[in-house]
Symmetry: C2
């Protein structure tokens, strides 16, 4: 299976996990290649050989972050009702942005917030946009299923949730404790439409 040549002396996946942690804590600009390579336990040229330049490494780190740290999104989407879906998303996010021993906040928010580094900014903005689209689709389905009032705007509802979770990420980085975020998550559900009365 292994081709010719000297075998790689480190595990790319755990190295990528280390890169995720650094980008998460420092942001894209704030993370230097020296710090990244050191955290990955590797010399800089090995980083370039395995992942490409800093921008490519960041894209790989973002993909890995999404699949390893944003599982609560898929969990929420799988909930049977729109209300449970929304609440699971908010609660799951509140927990994810305040995991003990991990950086506070969300890589997808903290890493880049200004359009200065345009490629990375675009990638993160699109990531958030995709997630918003998933919830919008879920809520559209809920409307046809009678699970949400017919007059509801699924896109606006999804945008409302993304706005809240973006805010959670900022507040978590400010040191807001998990229980405060959870209280806000439950309070926000008061702004979520009630299930329409069954007409059968």
């Amino acid at each position: 299976m292994a081709g010719p040549g000297r075998p790689r002396a480190f595990d790319t996946e755990s190295a990528l996990d280390a890169a995720v942690e650094v980008f998460w804590r420092r942001g894209f600009v704030g993370a230097s290649l020296s710090e990244l390579a050191a955290a990955m336990g590797v010399n800089k040229p090995s980083v370039y050989a395995a992942f490409g330049d800093k921008a490519e490494l960041f894209q790989a780190a973002l993909r890995r972050y999404v699949e390893r740290n944003m599982g609560y999104v898929a969990d929420a989407l799988a909930q049977p009702t729109a209300r449970e879906c929304a609440e699971a998303f908010l609660v799951g996010n509140a927990r994810a942005v305040t995991m003990p021993g991990r950086p506070a906040g969300c890589l997808s928010v903290q890493a880049v917030v200004t359009p200065g580094d345009s490629n990375e900014f675009a990638a993160l903005a699109e990531n958030r946009s995709v997630i918003q689209g998933l919830f919008a689709d879920r809520f559209r389905r809920a409307i046809t299923e009678g699970d949400l009032p017919a007059g509801e705007n699924a896109d606006e509802l999804a945008g409302f949730l993304i706005t809240l979770t973006s805010g959670f990420a900022i507040r978590a980085a400010d040191g807001t404790p998990q229980e405060s975020l959870l209280a806000m998550a439950h309070r926000a559900m008061a702004a979520f439409p009630a299930v329409p009365a069954a007409d059968s």
Copy 2:
């Protein structure tokens, strides 16, 4: 009034306004002194002479931003009822973070989001914390005045608003239009406690 020596050839206030714009658009790390000085229409040594180093310039820019672009906070606090206060804050923020011709978002959120540059991060976090404290005080007063239910938690309520406006700043930078933010502001008011029935 003017002391001895060569008079300053530029207006420090409008130069500071230009610095605000650059920090706002690029963030603290992303804004270079060359770009700052160019936007201010001045050479780098003049920046240092007038404002000190980059960190001091940023503090001055933040102060100026607060007094010139966050007037909606004071306006909101002056509203007669807690509900109007909260709604004015959300609406004012939604408008402020989507002003045409100005950078999207809020300097106090966009400039620094990671604790990497610790001094600036602390300054912004404290700025947000002070504002939260102002609203918490306002809501405490509202509780004693019977304007909010006695069981309400003024701090949590204020935190909820700050979380929303932090989210607004992120979403605005993502390109979310003003009317979407305004819709969310009004939706969020459904999560704000209703005025208790008068007991007189």
